[in-house]
């Protein structure tokens, strides 16, 4: 990562070589919101004959995504990050890639014909959908997707951009250090910050008391925490249901933490 919070591509040529089979990258950082240059990475990976998997858990819920334009081979989504039920999700993949792959699970619907010494498999996608799926959860996810579509992902993005810019300005103004890119044009609404010397877990409890829900911890990104030189960060994040007034409440609650700990 560069100092300002971008994926460091300066040594991409030495990292992605003819030995590269698969590159997995997040579309948007769950810690600092950086929107990664997926298309440029996909082009580099394809140039050496590899495939690219994009973790879309943060990207897809927050802005319009066109898999053809990104030219990614795989894209994963997580339902509970996009107003859907827990334990729902999905995998997009290019048909020609899926057709080359063997099934990873046996069970009903993935099979075509069974012989004593071999079997043939059903067509994609049934080949990868062995047994009973999470039917209820996926129907719930479909409803969530319809709902987001009815609002429009452009509108979702615009709302979150405005909130993110506002939050970064207000947090910084209150004396917090916001990690990563500072302009919402290049990032999503996961806003990680440090506030003076208040430990993130203490801060999260104080904010919780004020009705402000944040995440405190390393966000499953321990390498990034080391890069920032912190054990953990406090992270506020936004979606369509958040408001500017809630950002104000967050900033106001920071003042309470300072008063409490006397830093």
């Amino acid at each position: 990562m560069t100092d300002d919070g971008r994926l460091d591509l300066s040594d991409l040529e030495s990292l992605v070589t003819e030995r590269t089979k698969l590159v997995a990258v997040t579309g948007m950082s769950n810690v600092v919101g950086t929107i990664n240059p997926v298309r440029a990475l996909a082009d580099a990976v394809h140039a050496v004959g590899g495939v690219i998997l994009v973790d879309g858990a943060q990207l897809v819920p927050h802005l319009p995504v066109d898999v053809a334009a990104l030219d990614c081979d795989f894209l994963t989504i997580s339902g509970h990050k996009m107003l859907g039920p827990t334990a729902s999700g999905g995998l997009y993949a290019k048909l020609e890639v899926l057709e080359k792959m063997d099934p990873f699970l046996g069970g009903g619907e993935m099979i075509n014909e069974v012989f004593e010494d071999h079997a043939t498999y059903n067509a994609v996608p049934a080949k990868f959908e062995a047994g009973t799926m999470n039917i209820a959860q996926e129907i719930g996810l479909a409803a969530a997707i319809d709902y987001l579509d009815s609002i429009g992902m452009e509108a979702v993005r615009e709302h979150e951009k405005a909130l993110t810019d506002y939050a970064i300005a207000e947090l910084t103004g209150a004396g917090a250090e916001v990690f990563g890119l500072q302009d919402a044009e290049e990032r999503g609404g996961a806003v990680s910050f440090a506030y003076k010397d208040v430990h993130p877990h203490d801060l999260a409890t104080i904010l919780d008391e004020r009705g402000v829900s944040v995440r405190a911890g390393h966000h499953c990104a321990q390498l990034l925490m080391r890069r920032f030189g912190v054990p953990a960060t406090t992270r506020a994040s936004f979606h369509i249901y958040n408001t500017h007034e809630e950002v104000d409440r967050l900033v106001e609650a920071l003042g309470r933490a300072e008063e409490f700990f006397g830093f």
Binding site: H199, H201, T205, E209, G217, P231, F261, G262
Partner: protein
């Protein structure tokens, strides 16, 4: 239970002015652990005089709960024998699980941490130092590892 009660003065005092926070080179027993979920780290050093905990100190970093708990622990167990220390660790864990309600006469300042029970996600912070101390006393005396909760 309000936040002000949770972070009683005593917790903040131990957090800002931790007792026995120092390295003990050549300690008879020591153990390090971190909690990967929150990044808290505690190392406990113990010297025994026969069966008695004659010196106990800690090093570490983390939130106010984990660091104040470690500080209070070092004062609470100094001078106890090993069996008494382990019994106190068990009692402390029971207190943090909400299964025991020791009084101040028995537990001293440690009762200040009772309020943490109301914040289940923070209980692990309070218990970490005690887990490390117990492992130092019961393990091979030079273990390092990762807390499992």
């Amino acid at each position: 239970m309000s936040l002000d009660e949770l972070y009683k003065e005593v917790i903040l005092d131990h957090y800002k002015n931790p007792r026995n926070k120092r390295d003990v080179p050549g300690a008879g027993l020591s153990c390090s652990r971190n909690n990967p979920l929150c990044g808290d780290e505690i190392t406990v050093f113990v010297n025994l005089d026969g069966d008695v905990v004659s010196e106990v100190a800690f090093q570490g970093q983390g939130c106010s709960i984990s660091q104040s708990s470690a500080s209070m622990m070092t004062e609470a167990v100094a001078g106890k024998d090993v069996a008494g220390t382990l019994a106190m660790a068990a009692e402390f864990r029971a207190m943090m699980a909400g299964d025991s309600d020791p009084g101040e006469d028995e537990f001293g300042e440690l009762v200040a941490l009772k309020g943490v029970v109301k914040y289940p996600i923070r209980v692990k912070c309070a218990v970490l130092a005690w887990d490390v101390l117990q492992e130092a006393l019961q393990g091979d005396g030079s273990s390092a590892g990762t807390a499992t909760h």
